[in-house]
């Protein structure tokens, strides 16, 4: 079995096959979660294979992938619900194998659908979970229930809750002990549009206003696009890409500025000759321009100076197109 041991800062790993390799852990305490060749095998199939992730403090990190890609398996490994077949991970620079379960004091999690003790009230459920994290004041329980808008139903048994209410209670328990890192696995599943929006706002607020780091697993691309600052995409258990959402899209054809003008052909020719425009094409009478955000006014000025009337400049990014370009189509049976 895989063994991880710590030599000062870097980790030294030895795989069963005897191959030695070192992975230097980031020296900064900005890294709140890092995985090192994290892998899980079920039977002959690798559900997650050599996954290396790094999440920094304050990020809203989207973890994307199709169904069965290994997102939930990864999260379950991170939360020690299942044991990795190979590899390890560190929270806040501390190897889980060495520091053990106490590290979970600093993180909160919602894994898939939230299952509570149905025969107990929401407040009682939170009180019990709070006890395991060193005790949580009654005031704090009321506070988190108010955040997720369940304060009026706090004394009701959870069995009488709707799916959406349970989902919100799941988020309440994840933030109950004011953790630094919050791991959310499909947190908006089953919520109505209003609920989805509220949860998104809550996630952004937790990161922006309270300095929390969010690890958000989702297969909803627009959710990640609207919420996350960084993302990783996995497919068939393997990491496909990782980075800042904006940076990843900017480097591709999926981050464009659409320009509607009265003379599109002429505008196309002008922009093609401009060296600070990375790429331009005409599609259905609309110019699609790859350009830095800061240079948009300059482009508009150029077109106007050439006698072209600019009707609209619309920045667009399409994570969906980008995502689909990375994920191998495997049909419905995956």
């Amino acid at each position: 079995m895989f063994r991880g041991l710590r030599v000062n800062k870097p980790f030294l790993f030895r795989r069963r096959c005897g191959l030695k390799f070192a992975v230097a852990m980031a020296e900064t305490d900005q890294i709140v979660l890092q995985t090192f060749n994290l892998s899980k095998r079920f039977g002959h199939r690798w559900a997650v294979a050599d996954l290396n992730l790094a999440i920094e403090r304050g990020q809203i990190f989207g973890f994307l992938g199709p169904n069965g890609a290994g997102k939930s398996t990864t999260i379950r490994m991170l939360l020690s619900l299942i044991r990795p077949s190979r590899g390890t991970f560190a929270f806040f620079g501390k190897n889980i194998r060495q520091h053990g379960y106490k590290i979970y004091q600093r993180l909160g999690a919602l894994v898939e659908k939230p299952d509570f003790y149905l025969y107990l009230s929401a407040a009682r459920n939170l009180q019990m979970l709070g006890t395991l994290t060193g005790g949580v004041a009654r005031r704090r329980i009321d506070e988190v229930l108010e955040i997720v808008k369940l304060n009026e139903r706090a004394r009701d048994k959870v069995k009488n809750y709707s799916h959406g209410m349970r989902q919100r209670l799941g988020i309440a328990q994840a933030i109950l002990h004011d953790p630094e890192l919050i791991i959310l696995d499909e947190p908006t599943t089953g919520l109505d549009p209003q609920g989805i929006r509220e949860i998104r706002q809550l996630i952004v607020s937790l990161a922006r206003d309270h300095g929390k780091t969010i690890f958000l697993s989702s297969h909803l691309l627009h959710e990640v696009e609207q919420t996350c600052t960084h993302m990783a995409i996995i497919d068939n258990g393997k990491l496909v890409v990782q980075g800042a959402v904006h940076d990843l899209l900017r480097e591709t054809d999926f981050f464009v500025t659409e320009v509607q003008v009265d003379k599109p052909r002429k505008a196309l020719n002008i922009l093609k000759k401009t060296d600070w425009i990375r790429k331009v094409k005409l599609s259905d009478g609309v110019l699609k321009v790859q350009i830095d955000e800061a240079q948009r006014p300059q482009m508009v000025g150029l077109l106007v100076s050439q006698g072209i009337q600019v009707a609209a400049v619309i920045p667009r990014s399409s994570l969906e197109d980008y995502y689909l370009s990375l994920i191998k189509p495997t049909g419905l049976g995956r």
């Binding site: 619900l81 379960y101 299952d115 003790y117 979970l129 395991l132």
Partner: protein, 281 residues
Amino acid sequence: MRLLLQATGLELVKIFSKWRTYIGFATMAVLVPIIMWLVRRYGFGIEHEALNALGGSFEYTGSLANGLLVSYYLMNVLWVHFPFFIVLVAGDVVASEGAAGTFRLWLTRPISRLQVITSKFLAVFVYTLAIVFFMGLCCVGLGMLIVGGGDLFVFDKGILILAQNDALLRFLLAYLIAALVQMTVAALAFLFSTWTNNSVGPIIGTYAVIVVSLILTVLQIGVLAQVRPYLFVTYFDVFFMPFADPIPWGEIALKLSRLGLFVGAFYLISVISFLRKDIRT
């Protein structure tokens, strides 16, 4: 240690928040008074059978049946019937959390799996103690209240007459031992509970083991004599030993220590199973 005790308290809250926990208590609270009332109203047949077996060696007047005698005979339910109330809870305590998916909440807190499984085991132990002593209280207390007190006549290789106060102390000891015996049943159901996410399996599995083991202990086949020491039901009769004279302390200690080994082994395997268990529900 503090976290372990807190977790045990929470496990008890969970156990006593389920209606199935009260089935045993409710059954005894209803059944025992009815039995006692029937004995008071119609007499106790076993008394006559036992005296007839002595072949009329001596005479007696009045009735030997009292609340203590009925309680003594009611202890026979501890063999096969009473364990149902134990496995109903012990077989459910781990499996139900697997089925309900609540381990996802519990195990993502700063508590070790060893503490989680140990707290559950301790909670089951407390439940077992509670229900056995509740039974003792119902039987002896209601027996004396409804049927009446007096000396206890124990019919075993002759007649042993125990004064009421002596008999009460022996009942206390007997139920304490019975709690430990039932803990063996609980530990086995608990072990099965760690292997599955369905509480029906541990209940049926534990009962199957008890019934098969009891059959093996009563069959007079020579080769089975070698197997019997390894069956925990072989030591079940220890809770009747406080009613012998003199009390065979050495034999009680020996049998309890062997039952303790079974409890320890079941607990240890439960811990190993739980530590290695992947929570995929």
